[in-house]
Point group: C2
Chain length 411, copies 2
Amino acid sequence: MRDVAVIGAGMTRFGKYLDRSMKDLTREAVDGALGCAGMDKSKLEVAIVGNAAAGLITGQECIRGQVVLREMGIGGIPIINTENACASSSTAFHMAWLYVASGMYDVALAVGVEKLYHEDKRKSYAAIGAAVDVEWAKEMQASMQASKDNGGRGEQPAAGEGAGEKRSMFMDFYAAFARQHMQRYGTTKEQFGRIAVKNHYHGSLNPHAQYREEYTLEDILNSPLVAEPLTRLMCSPIGDGAAAAILCSAEKAKQFTTKPVNILASTVGSGSDRGADEPGITERVVQQAYKLAGVGPEDLSVIELHDASAPAELVLYEELGLCGPGEGGKLIDARATYFDGSIPVNTSGGLISKGHPIGATGVAQIYEIFTQLRGEAGERQVAKPRIGLTENGGGMVKGETAALSVHIFSV
Amino acid sequence: MRDVAVIGAGMTRFGKYLDRSMKDLTREAVDGALGCAGMDKSKLEVAIVGNAAAGLITGQECIRGQVVLREMGIGGIPIINTENACASSSTAFHMAWLYVASGMYDVALAVGVEKLYHEDKRKSYAAIGAAVDVEWAKEMQASMQASKDNGGRGEQPAAGEGAGEKRSMFMDFYAAFARQHMQRYGTTKEQFGRIAVKNHYHGSLNPHAQYREEYTLEDILNSPLVAEPLTRLMCSPIGDGAAAAILCSAEKAKQFTTKPVNILASTVGSGSDRGADEPGITERVVQQAYKLAGVGPEDLSVIELHDASAPAELVLYEELGLCGPGEGGKLIDARATYFDGSIPVNTSGGLISKGHPIGATGVAQIYEIFTQLRGEAGERQVAKPRIGLTENGGGMVKGETAALSVHIFSV
């Protein structure tokens, strides 16, 4: 396989865009990536588009990528549509990498785009609910309590509004998982809260973040309860947005930029029927990525990970090997994962503050690492980063993450 | 890129399966492919699942592949979901080929699965309508006449039933295209009819075909009109089903089978903003495939092509170079494309008779070529075929096919 680099990246600010189409969001992100790479769209040889929910939100199924790209004059080339729930566009990026690494094409476009907001909120909830096995969810639905309205945060249907629709159980899973961690390791609600404080602070420094307010620990803990110990401000919100990246063979990248960002590892995995003592999907995929890249957690300068909720980030500290099992709480207590700490995590604000338009999140994480590694992250810039990692999970089947993608980059 | 072979293929009979789930259909097809390859599922290293419409039909978006495969104990490996309308699973097959050809994995599973029938017919119509730009279709909808119920054939919403839903315009496009061909070349409605006669005859010989009735030319011409010159029996029906193929590096294939089917070319393209004198998507992608495979139309022994309607097949004769421009009618008049003719086309019965569960069609075409090239096609077996081709188109944007995939195989 050939060496592959990212030579351009772009994204929209994440937000609530009831008046903007997927085409419009895609155009802004792709134009940004092309501009960043100093490249005309005619140079693109293949495009992969990740989207998770347009079928249920806008009715656009089947050829989402062609619809959004043809609008801006990108056609003729292979256009592939990929879907892997919240990991849809990291999967698209992985396929783009494969096309270039294999030698089949030299220049590939990876796009993630999502519109989750809809005037009919039930559509948003149904879309998020489709990231689990919907037949199974239907069976479970009866046995679960209705939850109250969290204004989009916590990805939960409001009582009444979601009636008749499949309910997303993700925050219940995260909450149960958090309680287990608290019981086992003495992790506290305040520690989860501190992660949310950090990510909201990072988001306040990021012009692309959906929410740019800073919050105190008290604000976080006193925001409405989603499911103990999760409060609303510890949970990722619903959002709309797009992100794009241009991949190029390392050899050819020199023609376009003096600041390529190298892809050291590109992996995707899925959940499995594992024994209780076998590693989970995250450890498996992360270890594979470390091995491919020839690096370990001690080599990482900056990380974007899938903080769909604050406890998820804390547990991922451990699963990525940034600290030992049960020590995630200490890491945030020591402020180590702030952008100016020893191992910065979610400098973009993460899903909690930057936002989480699910199909756009994977490439948006890569946008942040690309920006950081090039030293272009402004107020939230990490000091001289050398190696960055993205971790992006999606969906759930049989109690384990359905799809998970890890990428490692270097300059 | 390495040489890649197909070592196993399986499929369900296509049909109306209101009582069967996507999981159930997938299991039958994948078990068939594994059985054919004499391989345990634990040997699979990556899986790509093509589906076009489950989001709109069953509400299962995001992680369709994980949901259907985890149910039968396939997990842990990368599972990628691809979508390209009616070309969804040929695209999945192409990605599987890329994984193996690149050297990343040795054994890959490609699956196509679709359930189009639903108790609420409006869902079926909405799903088919999602293979165009739905925003554009909404604008067009007002200016088009309602059409009558065609019992699923012709992929048209019934008057009244489709009210408020996006209407599939495919058969109107095919009809307009057919009229153009008639005017330009003197092609007759009877010639389109003869293609339907042939494909229904082939379907009568194929145990996997949805419709196994034979029809006379009079039956075809006298069946209800969809849009002049198309009658119902000239159009592909709605259907449910699944198909699967196992790809393996040519080197390793020997471990599993003495009858591998080699992949000479694997291509995917998309429509473009082309000038009137530039080649269309089909010619472009077909020529690319011929070049990659090092063969021409004169070398082909057997072809499966995208006869969503009979005129599409006739025009494809010309676009594939089986005859000159305007000569497609003569080819069917001479019965050349019967399974025992000089250049057999759609020996499976094609989309018209075998059925067209859109996301399953691409791999099902490959199943037929695989079966023919191995000499296992029973009553419809072509005499000593050596090279086979599949052509699979999907969706429409700006008046041109949105995605198109061509594969060429040999023994």
